[in-house]
């Protein structure tokens, strides 16, 4: 009796098992990717939040790796940026020369590689030299066209210019609106101010008046801006004004410069020193 009962029970379980398996298999057989996707979508409504949480935790472990990747990418982009900046610098430098055109002056550009403003003899080092056809006595202008200095010596690849902030620097300046001129020099005190000395006592300089170069200068074309009159005073003998001129070029913040060569400079100088002139001026 007991064995019969046991037999019936085991058969009953087996039948139940077979029925359940058949249901499961038929469900699986009729399932498609869509069924599975729908199933997963529905279950994700329930457990998706927890998945997100775990994903967030997992994310922390990959931060180091991501950081490294980002740093590498940053380095690559920095490199490309540097290339673009170089290219745009060249373009900007070329842009300075665009509206200048052909004249007796030849223009060129350079970048400042070293610059001092705190000495009595301040010099500017430029990254162009003889192979870039830079020659001594070229004028140096700031990008907006204000006077900066002139080249005193060149190597093959570099040039050194004497800045206007150099007590040895000499140029001639003219007050716009009048024909009075004087000589420009630096007294070595204020890096924003130069002196225009020996201006005629009739000039009557007013603060704010522009001071530009004269055409007599060997280094600079005429009418290059030097600065603006800040104050003026007559000297003790009341024969000439000494004018303080605020510089237009900010020498201490100079990054790029324009170089000006007077093509005729040497020709004129040769001419001036020619034998014929000497013969004519030689005292008989």
């Amino acid at each position: 009796m007991h064995k019969l009962f046991e037999f019936i029970r085991s058969v009953y379980v087996a039948v139940l098992f077979i029925v359940l398996e058949l249901v499961a298999v038929s469900y699986y057989a009729r399932s498609t990717y869509y069924t599975e996707a729908r199933l997963l979508t529905r279950s994700n409504q329930l457990i998706g939040g927890v998945h997100t949480l775990f994903a967030g935790v997992r994310h922390y472990f990959s931060l180091g790796h991501e950081n490294r990747l980002l740093a590498e990418r940053l380095a690559r982009l920095e490199e490309r940026l540097a290339q673009y900046e170089e290219a745009s610098t060249d373009e900007r430098l070329a842009g300075y020369l665009q509206d200048i055109g052909e004249s007796k002056y030849r223009f060129s550009t350079a970048c400042v590689v070293a610059n001092t403003v705190n000495r009595a003899e301040n010099l500017i080092t430029l990254d162009r030299g003889r192979i870039d056809s830079i020659v001594p006595e070229m004028g140096v202008l700031s990008p907006d066209g204000a006077m900066v200095g002139y080249v005193v010596d060149c190597s093959d690849r570099y040039a050194v210019a004497m800045s206007v902030l150099n007590t040895s620097f000499r140029a001639s300046g003219r007050i716009v609106g009048s024909d009075y001129y004087g000589s420009i020099y630096w007294d070595g005190r204020d890096q924003n101010v130069v002196t225009l000395g020996d201006v005629s006592k009739y000039a009557d300089p007013q603060p704010g008046q522009e001071v530009v170069t004269t055409g007599f200068s060997q280094y600079f074309p005429a009418d290059v801006l030097i600065g603006w009159v800040e104050s003026a005073e007559l000297n003790e003998t009341r024969t000439a004004y000494t004018v303080r001129v605020r510089l237009a070029a900010e020498i201490s913040r100079l990054n790029e410069v324009i170089l000006v060569e007077n093509r005729d400079l040497y020709e004129i100088r040769d001419l001036q020193q020619s034998d014929q002139i000497e013969q004519h001026t030689r005292p008989e």
Binding site: S10, L20, E21, L39, V50, R58
Partner: protein
């Protein structure tokens, strides 16, 4: 009552472990441990076959729902739930099984227990991975998956069994 509660706990823990840990591990395509069957493996030895079937059905449906597999888990889990009494009788003896208690290395002997887990897992994994692949064309790969995953699952289930049994001292 205490027993039921601890088994509910086991069910929840194994399902959560499976869904949130082992399904996301992605160690290798050949190592896909399915540890949730620890719940079936650790039901008391004297559980009535109907109750086993019911447990297998519930577990299979839950896992199908969570893993988005339309029926594979249910088919495989129902099979091991149905065959478990036979397996226990074969390995452990009919009379010993009727005494009841949680399957454990201490109760069944380490060797028998490991064999029991290994066979149960192998059975389950064979059905599961064959149905998942549903093709004979990559049979060697599927067999490799079955064998490697079975080895890993058995190890993990053995660890779960150790923990479960320490939590529940031999009084049941």
């Amino acid at each position: 009552m205490y027993r039921i509660l601890s088994y509910v706990g086991l069910l929840v823990v194994t399902v959560l472990l499976q869904v949130f840990l082992f399904d996301n591990l992605a160690i290798s395509i050949y190592l896909n441990p399915l540890v949730y069957i620890a719940f079936i493996a650790l039901l008391p030895l004297d559980t009535p076959p109907v109750a086993l079937l019911g447990a297998g059905l519930s577990l299979g449906v839950i896992m199908d729902y969570a893993m988005g597999t339309a029926g594979i888990n249910t088919i495989a889990t129902l099979l091991i739930a149905f065959l478990r009494p036979t397996l226990v009788n074969l390995l452990y003896g009919h009379d010993n099984a009727r005494e009841g208690g949680i399957p454990s290395a201490a109760r069944m002997g380490n060797r028998t227990f490991v064999h029991y887990l290994l066979l149960l897992t192998l059975l389950h994994h064979t059905v599961f991975f064959l149905l998942e692949a549903l093709s004979w064309s990559r049979l060697p790969l599927t067999v490799l998956r079955i064998l490697l995953s079975t080895a890993l699952s058995t190890l993990l289930i053995w660890i779960i069994a150790r923990i479960f049994n320490t939590k529940l001292p031999s009084r049941v």
